[in-house]
Amino acid sequence: MSVRVLAAVAVLLIGLSLALPALATGYVVYIGNLLLVFVVLSLGLHIVIGEAGQFSLAHAAFYGIGIYTAALSSKVLGLPFLAALLAGGLLAALCGLAIGILSLRMRDIYLALSTFAFGEAMQWVFLNWTPVTGGPNGLAIPPAQVLGQPILSDKAAFPIVAGVTLVVVALVAGLHASGLGRAFRAVRESEVAAAAVGIDVRRTKLLAFTLSAFLAGAAGGLFTTFSTFIHPDSLGFQTTILVLTMIVVGGVGSVTGALGGAIVFGLVSELLRQVPSYQEMIYGGILILVMMYAPRGVFTLVGRR
């Protein structure tokens, strides 16, 4: 992502933070919040798949860990929003590190299946660990506390969500441009050559998984600022696939692609809620068309490099 695109994103997010709560309805602002959470989720998945080239299909699980951890640390420990978000991110990161160890032993489809299995197992935990997660009844999320004030509406949450998202976009864009970002991509392209230029391949993979899970957990923390309820149903494989679709449609490996894919595909997915019976078919159709005509993603044309 070029500095110019990053600046445009910053202006847009700050502008929306000022204008949207005043002009739009609560529902529209809710969609805005949700899209930004998907942006953070996509950027997280982008690090592990797009940069480091490691298949991870457990993203929704890390997201869920972030949501439950942030919600419960706010509810039980009374942690303020930022601390709760970091707690969610850190616990998810720890689980990401554990899953990353798998990537040292297997690759490609085998790694994809193992991470998928972890995701499924976590959904089962969310669904059955009733005393903690509320199980199938879901969990009521208490209002997030910012500077001692409770955040009670989508409109009040939007500037916070937008602010955190902006920080994440800037950090991920910076990572992409840094030597570490190059090291991630080197591991993606050739592990033997990466080792030959002095990159510790194992450590780099673990770092990618950890950072990716941290962002998924932080996205979960963001979700708790505007949502009042979480149910394990929304933390399953469909969510992982939705985020995967976002980065693929946007263009694997491109920060701009992950960002744009999340916004566009998030919007499409929200609009398709009106016609649930066609939702899956239209998803599938879009994915096939993109793979045929723009396999490098529709956004890579905009912000290459």
């Binding site: 910076g174 990572l175 570490l180 090291a183 230029v197 990159i199």
Partner: protein, 261 residues
């Protein structure tokens, strides 16, 4: 005596196959040393042992007086050992510039802050200099897999040079190159060796290059050292001729032919 790289009775077995058998050899500091031998002689295996892709079954490897046998592959770059790959291992989807910048990762971009900072002006300037020197400057923004074969081979060398190596391991750098490209490679390598004092260990089949640039040659056959010496000495060694041409006619004809090849 001043061996930069020393192999001491290195043996590498894969299951029942002994690819390298008790090989001892030294690469003198500041020289260009070639490792030759018929296909399957174990040359690339020796390379992979030195660059720690393989861990030798037996024997020790010393670099600059230090035992490096137990070190991981990624630690070799930091010591100043760079390598190229016979079958091209470029970072295909990255640009030529990024490939060369990555070459500098462990020697010119060592501080954490340098690796995390979104701009790398020092590394970039260094990579540009390497591109200039290897004649790849024009295609620095092209993707590595978009280059023609000759330039891809050259990019392998450029990436290795970006590491500022003390020892450069070249695995068949001339294979598949046209004669003009080989001449260019010859010039680049001789220049590096003379001007920067880089020690080179070279595996190569293209005898034109080997004979013209090597100070010393080690000949392997079936995993064992059968000859070692200057290009002239090795060229006339009957065991070398036998390994390359077979044993049937040990007479004058075979001798003469090998000397030309």
């Amino acid at each position: 005596m001043d061996d930069l790289l020393a192999l001491d009775a290195v043996t590498m077995r894969f299951g029942g196959l002994t690819a390298v058998n008790g090989l001892s050899m030294g690469v003198t500091r500041g020289t260009i040393h070639a490792l030759i031998g018929p296909n399957g002689a174990g040359k690339s295996t020796v390379f992979n042992c030195v660059s720690r892709i393989y861990r030798p079954t037996e024997g020790r490897i010393r670099f600059d007086g230090r035992d490096v046998t137990g070190l991981p592959a990624h630690a070799m770059a930091g010591l100043g050992i760079a390598r190229t790959f016979q079958n091209l291992e470029l970072f295909n989807e990255l640009t030529v510039l990024e490939n060369v910048m990555l070459g500098a990762y462990s020697r010119h971009e060592t501080r954490l802050i340098e690796r995390l900072w979104p701009r790398s002006p020092k590394t970039r300037a260094w990579a540009e200099e390497i591109l200039e020197g290897t004649g790849l400057k024009d295609c620095r923004d092209a993707k590595a897999n978009g280059l023609d074969f000759g330039r891809q081979k050259l990019l392998e060398v450029a990436r290795a040079l970006a590491l500022s190596p003390t020892l450069l391991l070249l695995d068949e750098p001339a294979a598949g190159l046209r004669s003009r490209e080989i001449e260019r490679l010859d010039t680049i390598l001789t220049g590096l060796n003379r001007e920067r004092g880089i020690t080179v260990l070279l595996v190569e089949h293209v005898m034109q290059l080997v004979m013209s640039i090597s100070d010393r040659i080690t000949v392997l056959s079936f995993g064992e050292k059968i000859a070692e010496g200057t290009p002239e000495a090795v060229r006339g060694d009957p065991r070398v001729i036998e390994a390359y041409l077979g044993t049937k006619q040990p007479g004058e004809a075979a001798h003469g032919e090998a000397a030309h090849g």
